[in-house]
Symmetry: C2
Subunit: 338 residues, 2 copies
DNA sequence: TAATGTCTTGTAATCGTTTACTCAACTTTA
DNA sequence: TAAAGTTGAGTAAACGATTACAAGACATTA
């Protein structure tokens, strides 16, 4: 059976297509009798207006896109939830895609989105600028960044992200309170703000306690499990080992814990650990891991609401530009007092 | 700046819109000179054909939809990855939505998809039939089920799912080998095949060893963390406790482990445990959890490929109807010998 | 009663593509 | 050299909605 069109409905109800359209879009302008006839026909045929045709005519598709780096990460999975909930509430559908931190894939997806005529895009940029993004901006597609931003576009695109500096500061401050002074940090992907900010929080906390910052204690883990493993390996091979590490995202924490287990080290006895990102399963680990929780669901809802506001206002200028979402240190048992 | 249309390109290249369209869709039918002119104009304007208009004309949108119950579950997150990878390879975009096991949300999303004119849908049905699904089928939208199916639609819709019975059987067989005889099972959502099959595997393994099946050892956990907690509570409150439990999905395993920790029980000393679903973090738990791994990535790729085949063949009849993906028992340390 | 305004409805153009038809300009063939 | 075939282009009609415009039927007003 073919999908019914507005013409089928019109015919069945004995009215013009204009009347059907009006019955649906501005019900008050149609008489009650006709309205009823129309609705009946719609019901009988299971008619739903074609979004394609509507979109073509109205230039609105009621579609958003979420472009993240990895939907398997609980961090992004929760963000996606937030975005989806807001989208659903406002009757928008959602495209989702993963870039795997690859600029190439980011470009590819943005290009596809250009022609899908998405009403707006929420993007976690991989870090470098790219021409497809500029095309989209030229054509006034509303865009909101999450978790990261691009320096060159900072004044044209709003960003929603956690208060990385504060969260990071709290984590390291906590380690200091517990008596640790030789604290390693495993950092994320270079050129990505969230990563840089977390490093800064670490430095600031140390500085405030007048503890010198040692380059050897700063190791890059590039936000992956493997990276976490290797970075911790490096830290553990230091002549003078750190007594604690601050791991700046959940995936790398997973890697770090894996390595500790393999090497037969126990946490926190041999090494204390605090993680940025708090995953659900942290609480059933042995020991339960102390972590900085960022409210990723809120990053999702906030960015989606922001995007919708832009779409609806038709105003594509950003005013406030950076929106911070709170963090919270969840203290468990992976840090020992020294 | 406004999005350039095919007319803008045609004008700039000094040809008709038909030529532009042909240059893009059947390059051999256009002379090299004109083709070059056209391509140049396209480049200069950053022109991308409007999918909306194309879709309206051709009835193909190059869009798939994935409707799952929970993208935060690693099981579905991996499936999504599989689907996305296949989609990207074939130049399709992907809508994703969560039903939270709610029939109401399932209906809502399916209804939205009807008018978006998605080329095909991959659905993890919540378990009960629904009229929106029937509408879609009436209008010949290709659909593939994953992880579950609906009895009434079994002959009209193909399904891709794990070999639940075998995986389950292996898990319980393993427990039996280790000397356990009083084995509890925490089952999933009722009316859902994957859940029923896992229960059956459990029963079959017991029967084959001529161990009687006790109703009190079968408790429903409805696939949620909370459910896992409560179900295990029930099992532990039995006069005669089981020495092992088989937990039939990863989320409930999380709940079970949570409860054990709270109660101060240790695994496997106080209770052995095997999980259906193998999550990445199982290996860093204490003890690492023995689990049945289902290749969810393959469920994703297989279902997507199947769907694409249906879309391309225009043939919406299902022939084989059920596709099974292998499982594997990953033995770690959560089962002790008795 | 005629003029004016309001309320409903229909007609037809339009959004940006694709594609069935045409047709002119060459090639080929006998 | 004339008939037939091949190529490469353009014209214009869809696809399924929305909406400016027109117009008929009433109600209102002077």
């Amino acid at each position: 059976m073919n999908k019914p069109t507005i013409r089928d409905v019109a015919e069945r109800a004995g009215v013009s297509t204009a009347t059907v359209s009006r019955a649906l879009n501005e019900p008050r302008s149609v008489s009650d009798e006709l309205k009823e006839e129309v609705m009946e026909a719609i019901e009988e045929l299971n008619y739903k207006p074609s979004s394609l045709a509507q979109g073509l005519k109205t230039n609105m598709t009621n579609t958003l896109a979420l472009v993240i780096t990895d939907n398997e990460s609980p961090f992004y999975a929760k963000i996606m939830r937030g975005v989806e909930d807001v989208a659903l509430e406002n009757d928008y559908s959602l495209f989702v895609s993963n870039t795997d931190e690859e600029l190439k894939k980011e470009k590819l997806y943005l290009e596809k989105l250009q022609d899908k005529a998405t009403d707006g895009i929420i993007l976690a940029p991989t870090g470098r600028s790219n021409e497809k993004l500029n095309h989209l901006l030229e054509f006034n597609t509303p865009i909101v960044f999450i978790d990261r931003w691009l320096e060159e576009l900072k004044d044209r695109v709003d960003t929603v992200l956690a208060n990385n500096l504060k969260g990071s500061y709290q984590a390291v401050e906590y380690l200091l309170q517990k008596g640790h002074e030789r604290i390693g940090i495993i950092t994320g992907v270079k050129q990505v703000v969230s990563s840089e900010e977390r490093l800064e929080g670490y430095k600031k906390a140390l500085k405030d306690k007048e503890i010198s910052i040692k380059d050897e204690l700063i190791v890059e883990g590039s936000y992956t499990i493997e990276g976490g493993v290797n970075a911790l390996k490096t830290l553990l091979s230091l002549k003078e080992r750190p007594t604690a590490v601050f791991v700046t995202n959940g995936k790398m924490t997973m890697g770090a814990l894996k390595l500790l287990r393999e090497k037969g080290y126990t946490c926190p006895d041999d090494l204390s650990l605090v993680s940025f990102d708090d995953f659900e399963w942290f609480s059933i680990l042995n020991p339960p891991v102390t972590a900085v929780r960022q409210d990723s669901y809120e990053i999702g809802t906030k960015s989606a609401n922001l995007l919708l506001k832009k779409i609806n206002s038709g105003n594509n200028e950003s005013t406030e530009s950076v929106f911070r979402v709170g963090t919270e240190l969840v203290i468990r048992n992976s840090v020992k007092k020294v």
